[in-house]
């Protein structure tokens, strides 16, 4: 057991963890931040994506101890300070970019990282960036649309219907 201290969604937390505790388990079980999901065991699905020091990271591939001293952001910290949905979250709702919601936290966290890196991505860039996020429900169409809309691009002319 080792003591780790990190900032999670702006709040400092200190806990003792075992060396082999995955970041996902630390968030879900120790902090009860259950918005970060686990969809696979081979680091392929992206349901577990969080931000560590501003970078998108698959939390299932990281030990909690590695986050010692880091700034961590999870889906629970994405809404605006007044509790309203962030631009990306609101775009996902507006464009029906989620169905069962299981992949959604990872999608939103990936989208946020993409738009930070590339504020006006093309459709091809969005699709390419989502390589590591699997959604079984939506067929991605509305996720791609939501992310482009969140970047301020007009998606009304490319509606599916």
């Amino acid at each position: 057991m080792a003591e780790v201290t990190m900032t999670v969604n702006g709040k400092s937390v200190t806990k003792s963890v075992k060396g082999n505790t995955l970041m996902t388990d630390f968030l879900r079980e120790e902090l009860r931040l259950t918005g970060t999901h686990v969809g696979c065991d081979t680091s392929q699905c992206g349901a577990c994506v969080i931000h560590v020091n501003g970078q998108a990271v698959k939390s299932c591939t990281m030990f909690a101890a590695e986050a010692d001293g880091a700034e961590v952001a999870t889906i629970e910290g994405q809404a605006n300070a007044d509790g309203s949905l962030s631009v990306i979250q609101a775009a996902f709702q507006e464009h029906h970019g989620l169905q069962c919601g299981f992949c959604t936290p990872g999608m939103v966290m990936s989208a946020a990282a993409l738009l930070k890196e590339n504020p006006k991505p093309t459709e091809a860039e969005v699709r390419d960036y989502l390589e590591g996020n699997i959604c079984r429900c939506t067929g991605y169409h509305n996720i791609v649309k939501a992310i482009m809309a969140a970047s301020g691009q007009d998606v009304s002319s490319i509606a599916a219907e």
Binding site: T34, Q44, E76, G101, C103, L130, E131, C135, R136, T138
Partner: protein, 788 residues
């Protein structure tokens, strides 16, 4: 002007807020105080005799609470099968026992042998490694045709590996005559490969037990909590319903695979009582691959007969359908009643006969996966029609149109009666959306770039909203297939609707209130849906087969009608008018032809504070329940098209355009309906191009992770500019109150043959005499077809 609430409005989903903020409540998010964890030790061989299981070393390991094996479940029921098929000789299907933990033999990779319950998951896993197994390997049974020819038996107490040999539809004599007299016969052999549903949330079960009142609770990732309560309570564990609560909270997708009752659910419920401690199981993804029921896995020969004028005169099919090692809950119904009954398709073919041999193999059980039987039927029929058109030099669209059913109702030779439809309308829409006329120019342009371009089209019909209970009872269902809803109006006028349907992505919490709001003329936000908890809702058959709004929605309409009737009685009393004169509009009850009215909230308050109330005629309170048993299936239908570019050097297929024209009847929330179609199409395209659940000849599962099983990703699907989904053709269902048909499975049914038809068309345009490519059409398969 689109509506902003009620039926037909694209109301934004209220459930999204919790999912988008990480506040969802999925089963794995539930921890019961003091819970233990279970790890299942599963077979790593396909087939073997269990000579011994030595748990003594493992029992002494740290944290171990108790280790269970098949012996602990002797005297406990096995997992039941919910559908009995009768074979062509009138005999019931062969139905093997399905123990919770293996007894005597293991029958597929992943079959659970022992279960270790421990204080932590890590301790459970470590202890499982210390269990010593003595298993003698037996010959695997993988190939279906070999399995029925003889050799090793999956179940020693059955006479063979044949579950049933089923025949259905037109009489053999009539079919043979039609083929003998045909001007042309087209034959095709094809495989509908094994698929894994892969909802992104792996299955989870948490069993809990209360000594205080002898009650068991199961939290589980299920599409139908009441069905699980019934099956597990009555058939497996012998717990009466009033002592058993099943909760399916937020569920992360299902696609069929979370319909069924699984061993892990029964285990956790049983073990919680045995250990007097809650027991939790969370599947890893690799465990999901070897324990979730798989889908499809049919091998078929189909023959189509045409007369000299190109009218279809007969269809004959011979299918081998893989059941896997045991019968999953609804497995026997999928290749039979959900498949054979759709083999007429959109066509007025007078003779249709379907033959299905269901076969046991040493593989994971196979059951319903999105579409369940209907994708298999559509794939065969639409592929053989395309091949016939090519052989006869006919336009595939014209050949289909010529044979369309146009008079409704239409009784098919395969037992169902289509109530309504307009197949020319969806075909017209599809031709417009894909721009059939411009295809030649697009093909020429592709050819200039050295690519082969193909246009594939496809029509389909499905039967949804299963189904009249008396009919399915005759067909072997061991359950009724109605649904139920309770509308509870509170004193201040807000409403809770308890529905038997279960939402695991379909947006019921948004769409169902739209209907009630429309009927009452009140704000949608005054209405909440309650689902997924057997202790809160009257009863329910859950969600699958695109039935939620057609069946449960109809129950909700009926219950709301009862509410309106009673509320009008109260209003007539308050307004001192005759009940017949009371009208309800925009949440106001008024007396026809006068300006006298009372608001919705006044009436609801009077129902609960009945000071001025007709107590001699009606009871206080305002709550009504309805059960709805559908009169028929619903028959959504559509026409799909896509264009592909094939690289002749590599065999790579680029899906450059895709369009769908669906007829779902009336639509409650267009945004949600389109979302369902997007998802279905992606799964269908996944089947056509990417996904394959493969076993080797030893019965080892080769695709047990996302490294080996290719899930569709964002860049596997067509760009937004070349992709359209349309549901503007609407022939409302004639027998349910909303005129709705269901939209959940259409995409998965309609798209696989569309894609394969397009690939074959592309290859033919390059001079390759390729009649068929089995799915998934990987670059290697396409290249081999071109160069084979």
């Amino acid at each position: 002007m689109p509506k902003d609430q009620g039926i037909g409005a694209s109301t934004k989903r209220r459930e999204d807020v919790r999912f988008l903020t990480g506040a969802g409540n999925y089963t794995d998010d539930i921890n019961v105080h003091g819970q233990a964890y279970v790890h299942f030790l599963r077979s790593d061989v396909a087939h073997g005799t269990i000579n011994g299981i030595n748990t003594s070393a493992a029992e002494g390991m740290p944290g171990v609470v108790r280790i269970f094996t098949g012996a602990d479940f002797e005297g406990v029921g096995g997992l039941p099968c919910g559908w009995q098929v009768t074979d062509k000789n009138g005999e019931p299907m062969q139905e093997p026992a399905h123990p919770v933990l293996a007894q005597g033999k293991v029958r597929h990779v992943g079959d659970p042998i022992a279960a270790v319950v421990a204080d932590s998951l890590e301790e459970a896993r470590n202890a499982a490694e210390a269990i010593e197994l003595d298993i003698t390997e037996l010959d695997p049974v993988v190939d279906m045709k070999a399995a029925v020819a003889g050799g090793a038996k999956v179940h020693d107490d059955l006479s063979s590996n044949l579950c049933y040999d089923w025949q259905f539809g037109s009489e053999t004599e009539a079919v043979e005559k039609a083929f003998a007299e045909a001007a042309h016969v087209t034959t095709l052999e094809l495989v509908n490969q094994r698929m894994v549903a892969n909802p992104m949330e792996p299955r989870v079960a948490v069993g809990d037990y209360s000594r205080a009142n002898d009650e068991s609770t199961l939290y589980t990732t299920s599409q139908n909590p009441h069905v699980i309560r019934l099956l597990m309570g009555a058939f497996v564990l012998g717990i009466p319903e009033h002592k058993l609560r099943v909760v399916a909270p937020d569920v992360g997708g299902g696609f069929g695979t979370k319909i069924f009752h699984y061993a892990e659910e029964a285990f956790c419920t049983f073990a919680a009582k045995a250990c007097n401690r809650a027991v939790k199981w969370t599947a890893s993804r690799s465990e999901a691959f070897m324990s979730d029921a798989h889908g499809r896995d049919h091998v078929t020969t189909i023959k189509l007969a045409l007369d000299k004028d190109n009218n279809f005169t007969a269809v004959h099919t011979d299918t081998y359908a893989n059941m896997g090692a045991y019968l999953s809950t609804f497995a026997p119904s999928v290749p039979t009643w959900l498949h054979g009954t759709l083999m007429a398709g959109n066509y007025k073919t007078p003779n249709v006969q379907v033959n299905v041999k269901a076969v046991f193999t040493t593989t994971v059980p196979v059951d319903a996966y999105r579409g369940a039987g209907r994708p298999e039927a559509t794939f065969q029929l639409e592929r053989v029609i395309d091949k016939a058109a090519r052989e006869l030099g006919l336009d595939p669209i014209a050949l289909r149109r010529q044979n369309f059913v146009t008079q409704f109702p239409y009784a098919t030779p395969v037992a169902v009666e289509y109530d309504t439809g307009d197949y020319h309308a969806t075909m017209d829409k599809m031709e417009e959306l894909i721009d059939v006329k411009g295809f030649a120019a697009r093909r020429a342009e592709s050819e200039k770039r050295g690519k082969l371009r193909g246009l594939g089209i496809n029509c389909f019909i499905e039967a949804c909203g299963i189904a009249p209970s008396n009919l399915v009872g005759q067909l072997g269902a061991r359950a009724g297939l109605y649904d139920a809803a309770t509308v509870r109006v509170n004193a201040t006028g807000s409403i809770s609707v308890m529905v038997g349907a279960h939402s695991h992505g379909q947006g019921h919490e948004t769409a169902f209130p739209q209907v009630v709001a429309e009927m009452l003329g009140i704000d949608e936000n005054m209405i909440d849906i309650v689902h997924g908890d057997s202790s809160k809702i009257p009863f329910g058959m859950g969600t699958y087969g695109s039935r939620s709004i057609a069946v449960c929605g109809s129950a909700m309409v009926r219950a709301t009608e009862k509410i309106i009737n009673k509320a009008k009685k109260i209003a007539s009393h308050l307004l001192e008018a005759s009940e017949a004169d009371i009208e309800l509009k925009d949440g106001q009850f008024s007396v026809a032809g006068t300006d006298k009215s009372v608001a919705w909230g006044d009436v609801t308050l009077a129902a609960y504070v009945p000071h001025n109330y007709p107590l001699e005629d009606i009871e206080p309170g305002l709550e009504e329940t309805a059960f709805y048993d559908p009169a028929n299936f619903t028959y959504p239908a559509g026409a799909y098209a896509c264009e592909v570019e094939v690289d002749p050097d590599t065999g790579a297929v680029d899906l450059v355009a895709f369009v769908s024209a669906d007829d779902f009847g009336n639509v409650i929330n267009p945004m949600i309906v389109e979302g369902q179609v997007h998802g279905g199409i992606a799964q269908g395209i996944g089947q056509a191009l990417l996904e394959n659940c493969a076993y080797d000849e030893n019965g080892q599962l080769l695709s047990a992770s996302y490294m080996d099983y290719a899930m569709p990703r964002a860049d596997d699907l067509p760009n937004m500019a070349n992709y359209r989904v349309d549901h503007s053709c609407q022939t409302p269902c004639t027998h349910n109150p909303l005129g709705v048909k269901g939209c959940g499975e259409a995409g998965a049914i309609g798209s696989p043959p569309t894609v394969i038809n397009a690939i074959v068309d592309a290859l033919q345009s390059g001079g390759h005499k390729v009649d068929h490519i089995d799915m998934p059409a990987t670059p290697q398969r396409v290249w081999e077809a071109m160069n084979g």
